[in-house]
Amino acid sequence: MQIEQTGISSKSLPLKIRDLTVAYHRKPVIWDIDLSIPEGKLVSIVGPNGAGKSTLIKACLDLIPRSSGEVSIYGQSYKKARKRVGYVPQRESVDWDFPVSALDVVAMGTYGKLGWFRRVSKRSKALAMEALERVGLADYAHRQISQLSGGQQQRTFLARALVQDADIYFMDEPFAAVDAATERAIVELLKELQKRGKTVLVVHHDLATVTQYFDWTVLLNMRVVAAGPTDEVFTQENLRRTYGGKLTLFTQAANEVVQSR
């Protein structure tokens, strides 16, 4: 349906997921996911804790085995489309005490194109520096990463994804526990990526900002509750179906958001 709306063939869709099921330890974590994301959208993936948001992203990137289903990125398997994909893992997934500088971390974004044995080139470092400038961390390039604040660490990860120079980005909770300056920097960056025709999927947890930041939304709770333009999808009814009883906690906030539009 969404394909017809946007009027592009399925081959050029940045992301198309069919019948995806992922199971850990006998228990399916996400099931029967069908999803088509049109080009050039800022997409939020929203859902309660344990809804399988990170799992969905990881399954798209072949990081965890799928029980069934297929994922195509620009009509190809992830393996073939890899160079067109950028990834921002959760910040807590690494040890920030590791002996590398911010610049080193960002330069890792070029490793995918560098190939075996090749040393990190001057060009890679220049690209990394450029990306650090774009996230406002140029002054921190040579700091060891443990000396960065949480928000700065998050921006380092974003810069690393920028260096990947991808067409579609997967970001796992980039807004988690960041300061306002970082939040603003990320939002600006997202808009800039969109302007350049990139597609960005963001696992997001702050319902209050969904309508403000994202023009496309996927509501997820083990299965897709609803997916489409945020205006159409981000409704009280859908939120209730995603969050269930927990909804009462933020009904008011959601009301305000819906009304403020």
């Binding site: 002996p99 500088s101 490793y111 995918g112 700065q152």
Partner: protein, 449 residues
């Protein structure tokens, strides 16, 4: 007691008997240091320990097998091959237990380590009862027997060391990525499993060749200690690895030499002790993360804060009395300043003494009051102004401020830029009272009240 000349000869490889052994342990130290760096950062230190303990049954079994097939039971390549095989099986067992059951890493390693080691001891016991096994001397693998190293050991060690160095150089980028962010490496399409296995294979090679020199119980210390020591000196992986290899090499060299001229001192133990010495020294005086530097930095910061607090307190008291530069009244009673913050007499007197040394206050007089000098007043005004600019900044830019505020900065301008400071100063003007040097605080807080 050995002669000085003997020591000299051993240390500088002039002594024929010990030369080979010292070179061997030095090479081993380099290889261990290099691999230990990756092992440490991959958070697999205990895995290395499991690996080394799990080599013992392999040594025994390969001996029995070789003898049963009519070969030479003590052929080194066969023994080390067997050691490597059970070592890897041990690691695989840990991974299997971890993946397939709900038993955690540490428990899995504990189980595997002790079971394999126990099995090894049992097998060695059986060998002792075999007619061919009487002079097996396989126990030397447990504690190490450096002096028994011969040319073939040397050749194996050279080979392993070259492999380790070559791989570390060629795959530096890959190993760094693997150790730092495995998931991202996988997303980029790097064969994470293969790299992991390669790293484990290199570590196995180093461990197995090191069995003879330091023994399987102590080899883990030889792997981890130099790397841990090197970490105190640098925040860059390449430098850390080089340093770790150097520390490992130096430990091997000094340790083997020491044990050579002190009889009945087992080399393995001495090597590990030397490495531990390097570690302790690094921990204390390491320039990047050493305890002493951390302590020094902390106390310096405390002193700077004390100085600022003193100057600001003095200024604020004077300010309360409507003091201007023209009036030139710059004395403050000690009691009044003492009550200003929660500092102790000794602390405060210490700060005052330091301020005096800097020429900011006049010599403490008998009246027990403090007199700011002309420079002191200017400096106090400057410190207070900076403080208030930061306050203003925090109020005006509450959302972005926390990541930028550096109250310790002598010059606000350096951090925020001229433009921003001018803007803040304009805002602060609203709080200026007639005649004072610095506008009032936009948000007065009185600590200790």
């Amino acid at each position: 007691m050995p002669e000085l000349a003997d020591i000299w000869n051993v240390l500088f490889l002039r002594d024929y008997n010990t030369r080979l052994v010292v070179i061997c342990t030095m090479l081993l130290g380099c290889a261990c240091g290099l691999m230990g760096g990756f092992l440490l950062l991959r958070k697999r230190s205990l895995m290395g320990d499991t690996l080394s303990h799990a080599t013992l049954p392999g040594v025994g079994l390969s001996f029995i097998l070789a003898v049963a097939l009519g070969g030479d039971g003590k052929s080194l390549p066969i023994l080390l091959g067997g050691a490597a095989i059970t070592g890897v099986i041990g690691c695989a067992a840990v991974l299997f237990i971890r993946e397939q059951t709900r038993i955690k890493d540490d428990a899995a390693m504990g189980i595997v380590l002790s079971v394999f080691f126990g099995a090894g001891i049992a097998i060695l016991g059986v060998i002792q009862t075999m007619p061919e096994g009487s002079a097996a001397g396989l126990e030397s693998f447990i504690y190490g027997k450096t002096a028994s190293m011969v040319m073939s050991d040397f050749q194996i060690l050279v080979f392993v060391t070259i492999c380790v160095i070559t791989c570390s150089l060629l795959l530096f980028k890959e190993f760094r990525l693997l150790c730092f962010d495995e998931t991202f490496a996988a997303a980029l399409g790097w064969p994470v499993k293969f790299l992991d296995i390669l790293l484990l294979a290199l570590i196995t090679a180093v461990t197995v060749t090191g069995l003879q020199a330091v023994g399987l119980i102590l080899i883990i210390a030889f792997l981890i200690t130099p790397a841990a020591a090197a970490r105190f000196w640098t925040n860059q992986l390449d430098r850390m690895l080089v340093l770790s290899a150097l520390i490992g090499g130096a430990s091997g060299w000094l340790g083997a030499s020491l044990s050579a001229f002190i009889p009945r001192l087992p080399a393995g133990a001495v090597i590990v002790l030397v490495a531990a010495l390097f570690f302790v020294v690094s921990m204390l005086i390491g320039t990047e993360r050493g305890v002493m530097f951390r302590f020094l930095r902390q106390s310096q910061l405390k002193k700077r804060m004390g100085r600022q607090h003193l100057l600001r307190a003095l200024y604020e008291i004077l300010e309360g009395g409507r003091v201007t530069e023209e009036l030139n009244i710059r004395t403050v009673p000690f009691r009044q300043i003492r009550g200003r913050r929660t500092w102790s007499d000794t602390q405060l007197r210490d700060y005052i003494r330091r301020a005096y040394n800097e020429g900011l206050v006049e010599a403490p007089n008998k009246v027990d009051s403090i007199l700011l000098t002309k420079t002191g007043l200017a400096e106090a005004a400057q410190v207070t102004r900076n403080h208030r600019l930061w306050e203003m900044y925090l109020i005006e830019y509450a959302d972005v401020a926390t990541s930028r505020v550096d109250r310790d900065a002598d010059m606000v301008e350096h951090v925020l830029g001229e433009k921003m400071v001018t803007r803040l100063e304009n805002k602060l003007q609203a709080y200026r009272s007639a005649g004072s040097l610095v506008p009032q605080s936009p948000h007065p807080i009185h600590p200790g009240d």
